[in-house]
């Protein structure tokens, strides 16, 4: 009735918004073969294999970005660039005792951290139960005494952890993808909550995708909460911020040496990441800070930079 009709259409739109980009075709492009499709509340979680890798994707034929990939012949190798960049947060916080990872994907980060930091305790929060299931079945992720996965919204989990007085030495934010940014995870209030959840000197590593006008707003928002942070740019953007002083280049170099062997096993040279650590403010510092009241991140991401 009246407004009702429109509303149903909106409901359907919202339900489908994330899901069905380019559905209904068989996967042959790039030689990737569909291995598994897991139905989810949000979207289909797809597993593709081809050219020696297995990838988790949210779109047919992995058209819009791969979430996570596994080398079928060398399970230790980290295929994609961004988890390698995320792991360099260890140069700033070499021995985290407690880690929180927001956004599981294929579980690359928790699996790698278990290798690198022997006694680490890891909490993973993932919004989509289907992603957890697929990560366990196809990507070698496992829960055990030291690693626990919770199905919840990242912001809700952070607030709850704060209330319970928990603290983390390292928080990895990996909840964004090419298509959609959860806007409540890119506001000054959220970053303040994350900062409060960090132990003294604790480190936040965030994987982001902003290339457009959002880059300026995202940077200004991080700068409003963390006076200084490392800004690593390659294919993605990774922000590494600290709840304390940032270490010097020498300290970073010295810390990187501790991971030379294990990172080589992951398929990259620890030292090769050092030049990426930039503290230069290469954004419009007057850009408006994003808040819970003003958070049009996805609309801003459509805008060209000036």
């Amino acid at each position: 009735m009246l407004i009702g009709n429109l509303r149903w259409r909106l409901a359907a739109l919202l339900l489908l918004a994330a899901g069905c980009v380019g559905c209904g075709q068989n996967a042959t492009a790039q030689g990737m073969k569909l291995v598994h499709a897991e139905r989810s509340l949000y979207r289909e979680v797809l597993v593709y294999e081809g050219r020696g890798v297995r990838c988790m994707c949210f779109t047919r034929e992995c058209r819009v970005g791969r979430q996570s990939c596994l080398d079928l012949h060398d399970a230790d190798r980290i295929v994609m660039t961004y988890p390698r960049m995320m792991l360099t947060a260890l140069y700033v916080m070499p021995e985290p005792a407690k880690v929180l990872i927001i956004g599981l994907g294929g579980g690359t980060l928790p699996i790698a951290l278990q290798h690198v930091v022997p006694d680490v305790r890891i909490d993973v929060v993932e919004i989509d139960p289907a992603v957890v299931k697929v990560a366990k079945r196809y990507f070698g992720f496992a829960e055990n005494d030291s690693t626990r996965a919770t199905v919840a919204d990242g912001r809700v989990f952070v607030k709850r952890a704060l209330r319970e007085g928990r603290r983390y030495d390292l928080i990895m934010l990996d909840a964004f993808d090419h298509e959609y940014i959860p806007e409540h995870l890119l506001t000054q209030e959220f970053l303040s909550e994350v900062k409060a959840l960090l132990s003294p000197g604790g480190v936040l590593a965030a994987n982001t995708f902003s290339a457009s006008r959002l880059y300026d707003h995202e940077s200004a928002t991080y700068a409003a909460v963390f006076p200084a942070f490392f800004n690593l740019k390659k294919d993605n953007r990774v922000i590494i911020a600290s709840n304390g002083e940032l270490p010097s280049k020498e300290t970073l170099r010295a810390n990187s040496k501790r991971f030379e062997r294990v990172f080589r096993r992951f398929g990259f040279e620890a030292a090769s990441m050092l030049p990426l650590f930039s503290t230069k403010a290469d954004w419009d510092t007057n850009a408006r800070v994003l808040t819970d009241q003003y958070s049009p991140a996805n609309l801003l991401n459509l805008r060209q930079r000036e």
Partner: protein
């Protein structure tokens, strides 16, 4: 019925449609910091709005049987706007309180969405059937009037959805958008209140 009354009835129905959808979209933003943006939150919001509207239609139809007037239509609009105001003052605290008390994301967000949006949406739902009563003069044209009213109201909803999600959130803070909409509702409602006089619609 005077032309100005007819115009006001349509205008109020159209604006009310705009108002409801804008609040619904902003509702998702208001709830995200406490409840996240999982599918349950949108499910809860849409459920509460649908339920409140359905009961609002019923209530609006009933109330239209007793001395209907443009004046009272204006009162409904103003009441709907005023019941949004507490959301600005206490919304955040209430959301955090409910999120703590009811950790289940489904029932927590259902409860919170009900507390915040049920009353204003129910009142907004009363507008359309009430306006139908004011506009319909005889049986022969009743369908046409109802059709025109559906058109205006749903078109308003479409405009409210599009403008809010594509433009308003880029221009203003959520609370500024809400305040502006409350102001428009109060202005329009006051117009209807002062222009209309009780008992006008009765032939």
């Amino acid at each position: 019925m005077r032309l100005v009354h007819v115009l006001l009835s349509y205008l109020i129905a159209g604006w009310s449609g705009f108002f409801v959808m804008a609040i619904e979209l902003l509702g998702g933003r208001l709830m995200a910091p406490s409840f996240g943006s999982s599918i349950y939150v949108w499910g809860a919001i849409i459920t509460v709005f649908m339920l409140a509207l359905s009961l609002g239609y019923l209530a609006g139809g009933r109330w239209s049987m007793r001395a209907p007037s443009v004046r009272r239509l204006g009162l409904i609009l103003m009441a709907a706007a005023l019941t949004v105001a507490p959301l600005l003052a206490y919304g955040e605290r209430l959301l955090d309180y409910v999120a703590t008390a009811v950790p289940d994301p489904r029932f927590g967000s259902l409860l919170a969405a009900s507390a915040l949006f049920f009353v204003p949406t129910l009142l907004s739902g009363m507008v359309s059937p009430y306006a139908v009563r004011l506009l319909v003069q005889d049986r022969a044209t009743s369908g046409r009037h109802a059709g025109q009213l559906y058109f205006v109201s749903t078109f308003g909803s479409a405009a409210g959805t599009l403008l809010t999600s594509f433009y308003l959130v880029l221009l203003m803070e959520v609370r500024t958008i809400l305040l502006s909409m409350i102001a428009v509702s109060l202005g329009l409602g006051a117009c209807a209140f002062f222009v209309g006089k009780a008992g006008d619609a009765d032939r």
